[in-house]
């Protein structure tokens, strides 16, 4: 599944990121394969979403989250 569909409170592992313009930046920010991602509450209207990775909080748009393939672990 993609991170776009992820529900608040669930935890995922990053499997891969589809090639797109933000891929390099996302990886540099720590979204590498195998990284644990926890979905945090999003902005009032559901977009952008917020995730917790590597002990910090990152906001990203759902359209971009669609490019991030994840596997649910909790």
């Amino acid at each position: 599944m993609t991170l776009k569909e992820a529900k608040v409170g669930d935890t995922f592992i990053v499997e891969s990121i589809e090639p797109f313009e933000l891929k390099g930046r996302l990886m540099t920010m720590g979204l590498t394969k195998g990284t644990k991602v926890e979905v945090m509450p999003s902005a009032p209207f559901g977009d952008p979403m917020a995730i917790k990775i590597r002990s910090y909080k990152l906001a990203l748009r759902r359209d971009d989250a669609e490019k991030i393939i994840v596997e649910k672990v909790g």
Binding site: M27, P48, R54
Partner: protein
């Protein structure tokens, strides 16, 4: 010792990163002090690895240990030194105050004793083999990032212990400030408080004080001094009526602008501005901008120049250009006196509402322009939004003051340079013609110039040479619109636009009251709100947007939009019988 901008990595994705990368490439360093945020070690270590890969000797400085402790994290300093092979020290305090002392201990000789650990050596070899693997640049970059984080995972496992899970204050605050349906309303409330502090509570009294100082003791003192020195009448007039009056009028806005920037820098320091970007992104995106553009937009209510420079922080070229091109529509500190004066003169019963309406017109024009630019010249370019939401903290007041100064100093420089020159220039234009100095302003260069563009506003209801002259001087500096009108209509004394209500009657009794109807005054306000940015802003656009053509474009399209909207306002108003 050289202090480089804070950055998470060196990959030239942001201006800060580019500066750091450039410096590292072009300079030979004895030692680099790598200041790490202990509460966010994983992200910070990326830069550490990149520096080690370049073979640069590092002194690791674990900063913000208190923050880490609050989050239930313990860091093993000795272990970190062992796994990296580099010396590790701790400092407290937000800025690296102790760095100079550190450097006297960790001299080049001492640093030579440290060698990268075997793990780091293996990592460097690994990175080199990836670089030489002959894959595509993209694949190589991604493989290297993966390799770095693999090492970081190992380091963190060895060095960091999580003692207990802490429900952080930030999460609780975010429930209200960033997540719930209340969040946008809380933002509006905070925005209101910022504006109240800026314009009513702190900024205004200081502005009044400076105004009194300039129009009273300073003008009188200068006049007395110049008369005592026996200078000629024209030189005295040029200095007192031109330079002092012009620069003085600008100085009254300086406190307003500094207070606004102080509030915004403070909010930024608390981490709240990142939340504002987060909650406003859906709205901003709909109009062709990004949530990150909200900070420059808010600065534009003080002065467009730092706002345009602030657009650097936006990620994509489209976002940056759009923000640069639409911020000048907003009501900057220098446009406010125009609005305040005209509103007080022609709409005495609704002055505050009319001024507020002008702010709204500016915002609507900015939104409209952003949509338009997004649908035309920037159609094929994408907008992006990736933003760290840092934990809330009480900002370090020194940092806030430094940032305030950094954003506001441009305005002070403007007062001393361009406004000074513009004031003298306008004074000259309004007092001279081809045959020398003239008593009659209506025969001056300014009258000729104003008269030449006045026909442009034939259908706008204000095709007088005075309005034309004011509009021209407003391109030099918006502050000049009101002062030019004051000079042209012969209103005595210093123009104190903030105390507009009292001054308004003076203006009304002059010829200005008869030159405008309420409707044409309103049309003139709309025009002033939207037309060509001042030369300082245009110069900044040229620098930040990267080219002369963008500056010309910004100057022309704003003028055109202002002309059309103002025309519509006047003609529709007439049809409606105003």
């Amino acid at each position: 010792m050289v202090d480089l901008p804070g950055t998470y990595s060196v990959s030239a994705r942001s201006p800060e990163e580019a500066i750091v990368m450039d410096f590292l490439k072009n300079n030979k360093m004895d030692v680099v002090v790598d200041v790490l945020d202990s509460s966010n070690l994983e992200r910070n270590l990326i830069l550490t690895l990149q520096l080690l890969e370049e073979g640069i000797p590092l002194l690791i400085d674990l900063n913000m240990q208190d923050e880490a402790k609050k989050r239930g994290l313990t860091l093993n300093k000795a272990k970190l030194s062992e796994v990296l092979g580099m010396p590790v020290v701790e400092t407290v305090g937000r800025r690296s105050d102790g760095v100079k002392t550190l450097l006297s201990v960790f001299t080049t000789e001492v640093m030579e004793k440290y060698q990268p650990s075997d793990m780091i050596k293996a990592h460097i070899e690994n990175v080199n083999s990836i670089r030489n693997s002959g894959k595509s640049d993209e694949e190589i970059e991604e493989a290297i990032i993966d390799a770095r984080y693999a090492v970081i995972n190992n380091i963190v496992t060895e060095v960091v212990t999580l003692n207990r899970t802490v429900v952080s204050v930030s999460e609780t605050l975010d429930k209200y400030l960033a997540n719930g349906i209340l969040a946008p309303f809380l933002f509006l409330a905070i925005l209101y408080i910022v504006f109240y502090i800026t314009f009513e509570w702190v900024g205004q009294p200081i502005a009044d004080f400076i105004d009194e100082l300039v129009s009273g003791p300073i003008t009188e003192g200068a006049t007395a001094f110049l008369e005592g020195a026996g200078v000629s009448e024209w030189l005295k007039a040029m200095i007192v009526d031109g330079a002092i009056a012009g620069v003085g009028a600008v100085l009254t806005f300086v406190p307003l602008i500094f207070i606004l920037f102080f509030c915004l820098s403070f909010l930024d320091g608390t981490g709240y501005m990142a939340r504002v970007a987060f909650i406003t992104d859906p709205f901003m995106r709909r109009v062709g901008l990004t949530g990150k553009g909200i900070m420059p937009m808010m600065m534009a209510f003080g002065c467009a120049v730092p706002a345009i420079m602030g657009a650097r922080a936006l990620d994509s070229e489209k976002d940056r250009l759009t923000a640069i091109l639409v911020t000048p529509f907003l009501t900057c500190g220098a446009k406010l006196p125009i609005m305040a004066l005209f509103a007080a003169m022609f709409f005495p019963d609704n002055a505050a509402n009319v001024v507020f309406l002008m702010y709204i017109i500016g915002v609507v024009a900015a939104i409209f322009a952003a949509k338009f630019l997004g649908a035309t010249i920037m159609k094929d370019k994408g907008s992006t939004f990736l933003l760290e939401l840092p934990p809330y903290r009480l900002p370090d007041i020194k940092t806030v003051l430094l940032e305030t100064w950094d954003k506001g100093k441009g305005y002070l420089i403007k007062a001393g340079t361009i406004i000074f020159v513009a004031s003298v220039f306008i004074w000259f234009l309004s007092n001279y013609n081809m045959s020398g100095m003239t008593e009659e302003m209506s025969e001056s260069f300014l009258a000729t110039l104003g008269g030449a563009i006045a026909p442009l506003f034939y259908f706008h209801g204000f095709s007088t040479w005075e309005a034309g002259a004011a509009a021209i001087s407003g391109i030099l500096a918006k502050e000049s619109v009101v002062s030019t009108m004051g000079v042209l209509y012969g209103v005595a004394g210093e123009i104190d636009a903030e105390a507009a209500a009292e001054e308004a009657s003076m203006f009304l009794n002059s010829g200005m009251g008869a030159a405008f109807t309420s409707l044409s005054a309103f049309a003139f306000m709309v025009f002033s709100q939207l037309y060509t940015p001042c030369v300082t802003a245009l110069g900044t656009i040229k620098k930040e947007a990267g080219g002369f053509k963008w500056m010309i474009f910004a100057a022309v399209y704003t003028f055109f939009l202002a002309w059309v909207v103002s025309l519509l306002v006047y003609q529709i108003g007439r049809l409606l019988g105003f």
